[in-house]
Symmetry: C2
Subunit: 252 residues, 2 copies
């Protein structure tokens, strides 16, 4: 009283290939093997298969299923820890969806490619992962709570200040002056002072590597079009970078 591989596959609602795979990895051996090598499965094997398929539908990996079946691991326990993983995945997905939405809105919104200013973007949790990766776990939390704590008026003031700094940089770059000129260095100083107002960055904390940070930031302005856009793209961003580097080398 047993079934061939295709028969049992149809009964259980799966494929013969899957059965062979389970045989290969030792998850479910056929109950009998013909002299011709054919695989045959009996009732108990079908029961095992049903259990395997049920757990698989719940998203468990085959090794985890094997552990449940072989080593008498508590099924409830296995499912519970699996549930945690699922919850984390759901969380990650939710945040990713928010990021994608945000990005789409931003790109549709202002026409220019991601031409928001740096920290306007940050506060929108848009660059959350990026900030965390580049400047540490605390950076995002600090700058986020700082931004949230501001009133609408204060936020506007801040934006205006950023805006003015940007336009001043652009006009300076377009005027043809050198990055190490006095005017450019004045702007660089304003820029660094502005940076010092942002919590979570090395410029705000005493003892941080301000010099390296400022130089690296300049490189990023050039490298990343989202930031370069704040300075009129090229060659504005390059001008800012060079000016910041000179300022950092001599004053920090």
């Amino acid at each position: 009283m047993d079934w061939s591989i295709q028969e049992i596959a149809k009964i259980a609602g799966t494929t013969s290939r899957t059965l062979r795979h389970y045989d290969d990895i030792g998850l479910l051996k056929p109950s009998r093997t013909g002299h011709n090598g054919y695989r045959y499965y009996d009732g108990p094997a079908l029961v095992q298969l049903q259990r395997i398929l049920l757990l698989r539908e719940l998203g468990l990996g085959l090794p985890a299923i094997a552990e449940v079946l072989d080593r008498e691991t508590d099924t409830v326990k296995a499912l519970s820890s699996h549930l945690e993983w699922l919850a984390q995945e759901q969380d990650r997905l939710t945040r990713q969806i928010a990021s994608v939405r945000q990005t789409i809105d931003t790109m549709k919104g202002d026409g220019k490619y991601m031409a928001q200013n740096m920290f306007d973007g940050f506060d929108h949790t848009q660059y959350k992962d990026e900030v965390e990766e580049r400047w540490g776990k605390d950076a995002y939390a600090a700058s986020d709570s700082w931004w949230r704590g501001m009133s609408a008026d204060e936020k506007q003031q801040w934006k205006d200040r950023v805006q003015k700094l940007g336009t001043d940089w652009i006009s300076a770059a377009q005027s043809g002056i050198s990055p190490d000129s006095a005017e450019a260095q004045d702007l660089a100083q304003r820029h660094v002072e502005w940076l010092r107002g942002i919590p979570g960055t090395p410029t705000a904390a005493p003892g941080g590597d301000v010099k390296g940070y400022v130089i690296g930031l300049g490189e990023m302005y050039v490298a990343d079009p989202r930031f370069a856009a704040n300075y009129g793209g090229e060659p504005g961003a390059t001008f800012v970078r060079d000016a910041l580097r000179v300022y950092a080398e001599t004053n920090l």
Copy 2:
């Protein structure tokens, strides 16, 4: 003014292996190659890399990213269709989490392994996918809405009826009578009549393959411990299967 592979990797926050991979698949070629085979990257290459990494963080696949960069595909469009996929994934995850929770509750709840009756389980959307796969898309919707439309009293009546049928089967199996005896065949008839009351199954629709359905159902009772439990496990389920088969062969 260019960087080595490790330098640009550090700047962009990725690894040299990733860069080599992107080179292999043609996603990002180095701007220059030394006579020794070393890869070097310049500013524009870094910009491209930043864009790639941004899109990757949003979950886009590398082929999709390549399409956006190479063939000037609209980024917003690509992200939008990606968003749909993400939403579907989120949906799937949510339903899977519900299933896992349900399963855990069930297994903790009654101690016995999934020993709920068939349609009590169905109505809990627990076996949604399974019902749909085995009996078609409409089956689940039909039996679900049918169950939801019942009052609490009616549901209880139905459960009692199922319960009584189950216990009658069990006592019949234990009494040692044959599956083709008159009493067993009476039970089989009751069973089929009961099935006819469930919408979405072939037994309820005129012209359905009732015979094949009943026989297959009997096999499933034996094969699947969740159903076998309704008949006291073994040898109860086997008795039911045999009785149903005889009944189906002679009367349907």
